[in-house]
């Protein structure tokens, strides 16, 4: 008879495996067989899954002492090889590594170059409009639809399905789409903006802080916190016609957007400028116009080099 610990570790292995972005279809029957094998398997898995997903665990993990790991500790706690091997799981993780490193058959990547947008229709009938210099990875599985916005901005017109939600990840932000039209803008790894034009979405950060957005709602996720934004009456995001509406957005975010359309690199010479809050409507598809608007409104100096466009504070004393 198996020890409790052994069963718990097998169950934990399955939980981890089921949570992988690329769950191998062949593992499905294997998992069902493991669950069917014994009531203790089923009970342990159900209990562990509940613990793993619970808010209480997230809360406990968020305690400061649990967040720091000293690099020097690594060598001390490395496990002897093959000591606690959970059968099957090792193979799963190795396979996952392969999936992430090698081009995968199950994930489709869509990329756009500078200045170019693109519309794609996914296997489930949903439509995605990608902005310039963006990358989206999509996985449509029998039980889940998932997309990851690796870079840039995308407008989703998702086909509603009851059993399969459509989830978009952007950094630590997860947007759960419930059959709707919505825009997801990955402004930086820790900053994502979401606007809903039809239907509703559920926004979460690392599985926490749910917020439901309905038609016309907008929200920013910045460094793990969700903040509601002014509502919009538009029916499609401004970027689709080459515009960007900024309301108290760091200059760095605007520059990234202008960069999506400019073949010349735009360089900001002063780090402090990147966080300068700006507001207004900018024509990002027209590099010169957008940057001139910034120059006039925010007192920066722009030099239009042949290779590089440079932005620096106008005030000479700050330049040094």
């Amino acid at each position: 008879m198996k020890r409790d610990t052994e069963i718990a570790e097998e169950a934990a292995g399955w939980i981890d495996r089921l949570n992988q972005p690329a769950f191998d279809a062949a593992a499905g029957p294997e998992f069902d067989a493991w669950m069917a094998a014994s009531p203790r398997h089923r009970e342990t898995f159900a209990d562990l899954q509940a613990v793993w997903e619970s808010e209480t665990l997230a809360h406990a993990l968020r305690q400061p002492e649990a967040l720091v790991v000293m690099p020097s500790l690594r060598s001390h706690v490395r496990f002897p090889r093959l000591r606690y091997v959970v059968p099957g799981l090792a193979a799963a993780c190795a396979a996952l590594a392969a999936v992430l490193i090698l081009p995968s058959v199950t994930t489709t990547a869509y990329r756009t170059g500078v200045g170019g947008g693109r519309t794609v229709v996914l296997a489930d009938g949903s439509r995605v409009d990608l902005s310039g210099d963006s990358e989206l990875r999509v996985q449509i599985l029998p039980w889940a639809r998932a997309a990851e916005l690796v870079r840039g901005e995308a407008f989703f017109d998702v086909r509603h399905e009851n059993a399969r939600t459509f989830e978009v990840a952007s950094g630590t932000t997860q947007v759960r789409v419930l059959g709707t039209a919505s825009n997801v803008d990955r402004q930086s790894p820790t900053r994502t903006a979401v606007v809903v034009y039809r239907g509703a979405v559920d926004v979460a950060v690392a599985g926490e802080h749910d917020l439901v957005l309905r038609k016309g709602d907008a929200a920013h996720v910045v460094d793990g916190h969700i903040a509601a934004q002014p509502r919009t009456a538009e029916t499609a995001p401004a970027w689709k016609s080459g515009w960007f509406e900024a309301s108290n957005v760091p200059l760095g975010v605007l520059i990234d957007k202008v960069q999506r359309y400019s073949t010349r690199p735009i360089v900001v010479r002063d780090r402090a400028l990147l966080t300068l809050p700006i507001s207004g409507r900018f024509r990002i598809s027209d590099t010169a116009r957008a940057l001139q608007a910034v120059q006039v409104a925010y007192g920066v100096t722009i030099s239009w080099g042949r290779r590089v466009i440079a932005i620096r504070p106008t005030d000479a004393s700050r330049r040094r």
Partner: protein, 179 residues
């Protein structure tokens, strides 16, 4: 509590390898642990089962249990969302630091047990759990960033989870010493 099983007769034989009654009782154990609202359990399990049955008619399910747990989890989120809608309704307000209902009601004791179990773990294991659960990082990314092998990452996750499970069952944290 026996879970209600609609249409069980209709589908007998449709998915011979799945014993729906067993699936239902497993799911209700999970749902009971996830929510503090006893009145939800029956609804969620019944709805999950009926969706599973529907799906299994349309196509061969890759895994009855995997899909079942996913549907149940997403129904729980739906219910919580319905509960928190009033909060979201108040617009312009800096939104949703508000905890989900199950977090408010989950006993402090549970939290204390988990915290104690986490405190007993090697810091590296805790870090791996934080990255996997809170930050949603993949095994491979964690391995890369912490300079571990993918196998070591799995071991931290499985042993960490097993420790948490043990703590929740109240049989102490003597595990490290026993090894």
């Amino acid at each position: 509590m026996p879970a209600p099983l609609p249409h069980i007769e209709d589908i007998a034989g449709a998915t011979p390898e799945a014993d729906w009654r067993t699936v239902a009782s497993t799911l209700s154990r999970y749902v009971r642990a996830r929510t503090s609202r006893a009145d939800l359990v029956e609804d969620v399990v019944r709805e999950t089962l009926s969706r599973l049955v529907q799906q299994s008619r349309v196509q061969k399910l890759v895994s009855v249990y995997a899909l079942g747990f996913r549907i149940a989890a997403s129904l729980l989120v739906d219910h919580h969302r319905r509960d928190s809608r009033y909060v979201a309704e108040r617009e312009e307000e800096p939104a949703s630091q508000a905890p989900l209902p199950d977090r408010v009601l989950a006993g402090r004791q549970e939290l204390a047990l988990l915290q104690a179990a986490l405190a007993m773990m090697p810091p590296l294991r805790r870090d791996v759990l934080v990255r996997r659960r809170l930050q949603g990082q993949s095994c491979a990314a964690i391995a890369r960033e912490l300079g571990l092998s993918p196998k070591a990452v799995e071991k931290h996750i499985t042993r960490g989870l097993a420790d948490l499970h043990k703590a929740m069952r109240g049989d102490g944290f003597a595990r490290g010493a026993a090894q």
